[in-house]
């Protein structure tokens, strides 16, 4: 398995929407390389015949009655928002100005 390097971390930080300074990228790349190296053995633990477990106690088809339950008012839903306008979340520009 390939080691993780500084370019990888920069790419991953962009995907995860976290701005990182040059110094932070250097440090994070070093720390993550050690962590990734320590978890490598996991890929050798199980053969192809072992099924994956995504959930410790699987419950299937959990349904409820199709009735309207409690819902938030717009005011409640917006109560923690950094910015709102006329009952809606207000966000910065979604598209780049080109």
């Amino acid at each position: 398995m390939a080691a993780i390097n500084r370019d990888d971390v920069a790419h991953l930080a962009r995907l995860a929407h976290i701005e990182m300074s040059a110094e932070e990228l250097d440090r994070m790349a070093g720390e993550l390389a050690v962590i990734v190296d320590s978890v490598k053995s996991v890929s050798e633990a199980a053969g192809d015949d072992v099924p994956a477990t995504s959930h410790p106690i699987p419950l299937n088809n959990v349904f409820r009655e199709d009735v309207v339950g409690h819902t938030f008012t717009a005011e409640q839903a917006l109560s923690g928002a950094p910015d709102s306008f006329e009952g809606r979340f207000k966000v910065p520009a979604i598209l780049d100005e080109d």
């Binding site: 050690v34 996991v42 410790p56």
Partner: protein, 523 residues
């Protein structure tokens, strides 16, 4: 009304307080005020609380007292723990109090809804004393990753109280609360319990609703009780547990024999399995000694000690540090500076939502959270998914199989809860991998969804600090842990001549300078 002074009152267990409240030997307002005074006296040193909820707690206490004083059907219908105060880990959302998750990104945020466990505490009329400190979004083993400063261990204020639920454990250990709620994703209830000399229980996955616990890793997270006695944890789990339609992973099993199990502890003829891979090499000598002592006591009480092997546990830590960050990277994507919490604008350049999001998350998240998000994003990337996340999920199957084989040979498994006693603040902060190793004995239970209980096992010879003993049972067999835990607790307390916390150093309010007047209300 009471013959006990406040310093005696706060040392009573929840069960003892409940009995005194029911007998009207003490009022809930007196009890709640005694704890609020204790918090005022010592929390400046311990930093267990991020928010103190005095007004609401006293109002609930007064309500309980009025109902009791009036008598009649309403008094009869009061829950056994009505009027007994509790502290809540600040990962669990509450109306009327801030919820921060220990993060700057949620500073000042108030939830518009209560977690299911909070609704149940309110229904039982338990006064909520406040919200306790934690590693940011429950990511850590020392509470040092809190954005609001570390919590300190009441046994030695220069040492960590464990994590992520160090605030809940320290609050209970420092007699700032008789009970607390925690959450356990890889040991965050049990390991703080171990290093603070308190009891911590991670119930079976799904036995307690997760609705309203801010998700870290959804397939591993579990809310559970923190207390000073095994019986108190059983009492609390019966309050908060049981099916919840708001959590699709909630089990429909009743879990209503926990208190009875704690009261009728008996290990005669039980098989208790030592997990070969979870002691010995890598475990502190003093931890190992106390562990062996507990085995001897259980044997004398009529249990049969057997040895079991779980060979795939050597992959558990690695698999956990792939699955958990993968789920973290997905769960924490919602903190985007739009719907709640912090919004930070980039210093210059175009003000697009993506750049605002990146600036917000950079400023709002601490280093450990960022590390785990990046690691999870990596493990889930195209090209790496099979090798990392896919392999880790297979290891999860292998760990479940190891447990199945072990439980075919033993009714309950036993190990030390953590490999060492509490380490010094700052000691492992710059070495994430060393920090992760604290959870080596607690992680397998989360991976398999089984219940785990940590109880005090004594003090390590070399440093005089608490050691935790962990008991594990098959899924849905939480009652078995309370049964064995209560027996071991009573055998150990008989040996010590009282609870372990009686041997903790006495924390006192800071000495006031001569210009201050002494306000009433403290000890």
């Amino acid at each position: 009304m009471t013959e006990l002074n406040n310093s005696e009152l706060i040392r009573l267990s929840a069960a003892q307080l409940a009995a005194k409240l029911a007998a009207r030997e003490v009022t809930s307002v007196e009890v709640t005020q005694a704890y609020l005074d204790r918090i005022a006296d010592v929390d400046g040193q311990v930093n267990a609380f991020l928010h103190v909820n005095a007004e609401e707690a006293l109002a609930v206490a007064a309500e309980v007292d009025a109902i009791r004083a009036a008598g009649g059907a309403e008094a009869e219908a009061l829950h056994e723990l009505a009027g007994v105060p509790i502290a809540v880990k600040d990962l669990i959302v509450t109306i009327g109090q801030p919820t921060t998750a220990g993060s700057k990104i949620l500073e000042g945020w108030h939830s518009p809804y209560d977690a299911t466990v909070i609704k149940r505490l309110r229904a039982a009329k338990m006064p909520i004393l406040g919200k306790t400190n934690l590693d940011e979004f429950a990511m850590g083993s020392s509470t040092e990753h809190s954005a609001y400063g570390p919590t300190r261990n009441p046994w030695d204020l220069d040492r960590i109280p464990g994590g992520s639920g160090g605030g809940s454990a320290a609050a209970v250990a420092a007699f700032e609360a008789p009970l607390a709620l925690g959450t356990d994703t890889g040991g965050s209830i049990r390991q703080p319990g171990a290093v603070t000399g308190t009891v911590g229980m991670k119930p079976t996955y799904g036995a307690v609703s997760r609705y309203g616990a801010i998700a870290m890793a959804s397939s591993l997270d579990q809310i559970g009780p923190v207390s000073r006695t095994v019986l108190d944890s059983a009492l609390l789990q019966e309050v908060i547990g049981g099916h919840d339609p708001f959590d699709s992973t909630s089990l429909t099993d009743p879990f209503d024999t926990l208190v009875a199990a704690a009261k009728t502890g008996n290990v005669t003829g039980m098989k208790i399995g030592i997990i070969k891979e979870l002691h010995g090499e890598g475990y502190q000598a003093g931890v190992e000694n106390r562990f062996n002592e507990s085995l001897e006591l259980l044997k004398e009480a009529g249990a049969e000690i057997v040895e079991v092997s779980c060979p795939n546990f050597k992959y558990a830590l690695g698999a956990y540090y792939l699955i958990m960050p993968s789920e973290v990277s997905s769960n924490l994507a919602k903190f985007d500076g739009v719907r709640y919490g912090l919004r930070v604008l980039p210093k210059d350049g175009p003000m697009t939502i993506e750049r605002v999001m990146a600036a917000t998350r950079a400023a709002g998240f601490g280093d450990e959270v960022k590390r785990r998000i990046i690691l999870g994003t990596y493990a889930l990337s195209a090209g790496y998914y099979d090798a990392y996340y896919g392999s880790a999920q297979k290891v999860r199957t292998l760990i479940q199989r190891d447990f199945e084989a072990a439980f075919a040979q033993a009714d309950v498994l036993i190990s030390p809860t953590a490999p060492t006693t509490a380490f010094k603040l700052g000691e492992k902060l710059d070495d994430p991998l060393a920090m992760y190793l604290n959870d080596v004995a607690t992680i397998p239970a989360n991976m398999a969804g089984i219940p785990g209980l940590s109880l005090p096992g004594g003090l390590a010879d070399e440093d005089g600090l608490p050691v935790g003993i962990q008991l594990l049972a098959p899924a849905r067999e939480d009652a078995r842990l309370y049964r064995v835990g209560a027996v071991l607790e009573s055998l150990l307390e008989e040996k010590w001549g009282g609870p372990l916390l009686d041997r903790a150093p006495v924390l006192k309010a800071p000495v006031l300078d001569s210009s201050s007047t002494i306000a009433g209300g403290s000890n």
